[in-house]
């Protein structure tokens, strides 16, 4: 995985309720220090001189309490615990509430090359935001050769061999007012435990390569309403050439899944052959998935109804036999 540095953290493009509002006020030389874990530490114990199990590799957050204690140390002229603090390679120190660090701390940070950052957020708010942001960055991820589209609000991952018609199916879906998230290469991250979030990979994501047309720009052709930057993957649909020797699911009463990054995703295999309108099949699959989420499982419901009907038929036959 790519190294995440303190500079990367400062340069993240985060908006509104995600913004960290960080600025560097000292120790610029250390901006290349690496963030190895998506965790934080409040260094109260360390400042008072207790250094067992010091989680130095975490982001060190100085809230109101820690900062007040720092000023007390400064007034008393005590530097030894701070010197021990900067003897470890701390990735960075963050002062919340726009607080000013002490002269001792700034000098030691500058001397050891540890970046000192400042934010106007409160400690708890900054903590929740930074953990959320870092968890997303550190989330397990995987790139797959597929197309991700949003169909009736459901994130559908279209998979299948090259040339089977994934992009063409996606194009037809976009034409039917659905949205393209990524074509060809989908980057999947597992966030918040078991949510699979799919995005494109930078510059290429809202372009499509269609055989015979070349590369087309979906945003320009269909407008900004036809695209999305990211979408949770809720169904995986595999398109494959119709194989007469293979038997395809006829009832759908059994749910199949594939595992992506350890998460079970409902999985359908749709065989492709001339005369089968794949976009409409995908639309229907997406709507059916919504029904399932609402607790109505068409195939199982149908199966149950047939069983009930057969039971009554059976009872009727017995009754007629006896009379």
């Amino acid at each position: 995985m790519k190294k995440i540095t303190v500079l990367d953290l400062l340069q993240l493009d985060l908006k509104e309720n995600e913004a960290l509002n960080l600025k560097c006020i000292a120790g610029r030389a250390g901006l290349a220090r690496e963030l190895k874990v998506p965790e934080i530490n409040r260094p109260g114990l360390e400042l008072s001189g207790f250094y067992e199990n010091f989680a130095f590799q975490r982001i060190q957050i100085f809230g109101r309490g820690e900062t007040a204690y720092l000023w007390k140390l400064e007034r008393e002229g005590k530097r030894d615990t701070l010197e021990m603090f900067f003897a470890s390679e701390v990735p960075c120190c963050v002062f919340t509430h726009q607080q000013q660090p002490t002269g001792d701390l700034l000098a030691l940070a500058e001397g050891s090359g540890c970046p000192v950052l400042q934010t106007d957020l409160s400690s708890s708010e900054f903590t929740t935001r930074v953990i959320r942001v870092l968890s997303n960055i550190f989330a397990p991820k995987q790139s797959v050769h597929a197309v991700l589209v949003e169909v009736f609000g459901i994130g559908v991952l279209l998979m299948g061999d090259s040339g089977v018609g994934k992009s063409e199916a996606a194009l037809a879906l976009v034409e039917r007012n659905h949205r393209l998230v990524a074509d060809d290469l989908v980057e999947i991250r597992r966030i918040g435990g078991n949510i699979l979030m799919g995005t494109g990979t930078g510059v290429s994501s809202h372009h499509m390569e269609i055989r015979g047309l070349g590369i087309i720009n979906i945003t320009h052709l269909f407008g900004v309403g036809a695209i999305r930057d990211k979408k949770q993957i809720q169904v995986a649909v595999k398109l494959e050439d119709w194989d007469p020797a293979k038997s395809y699911d006829r009832i759908g009463a059994e749910e199949n899944f594939i595992e992506i990054l350890g998460v079970q995703v409902p999985h359908l295999v749709i065989p492709v052959k001339p005369g089968r309108n794949i976009p409409i099949l995908i639309e229907t699959a997406a709507m059916n998935e919504r029904l399932k989420k609402m607790g109505y499982y068409s195939a199982k419901e149908f199966s149950r109804n047939v069983m009930r009907w057969l039971e009554t038929e059976s009872a009727r036959a017995i009754f007629l036999d006896e009379t």
Binding site: S247, R250, I251, A253, A299, S303, V306, M307, L310, E313
Partner: protein
């Protein structure tokens, strides 16, 4: 034309799963396949058709096949009935 009379031996009768099994088996043969119950005849390759037969326990079903591999088709389908569609 080949035909054979079979009886449904599984308690639940022909519900969705056995119907799918029948259709999948019938689909493997080139011959035209029909199932008949009380003179009502349906296409053996249509899942909905088979379900609408309402074929319950102990019902007699006539399997009819017509085509090059009709014998094999009837054998294969009759075997499903005998095996109670792998149920019970």
């Amino acid at each position: 034309m080949t035909q054979r009379l079979v009886t449904i031996k599984n308690r639940a009768g022909i519900h969705a799963r056995p119907a799918a099994l029948l259709v999948q088996t019938a689909g493997k043969f080139a011959a035209k396949v029909f199932l008949e119950k009380d003179g009502e005849r349906v296409n053996g390759k249509s899942i909905m058709g088979i379900i609408t037969l309402a074929a319950t326990y102990n019902t007699a079903i006539r399997i009819i096949a017509e085509g090059v591999d009709e014998k094999e088709a009837v054998d294969a389908l009759a075997r499903l009935f005998e095996n109670k569609f792998e149920e019970d």
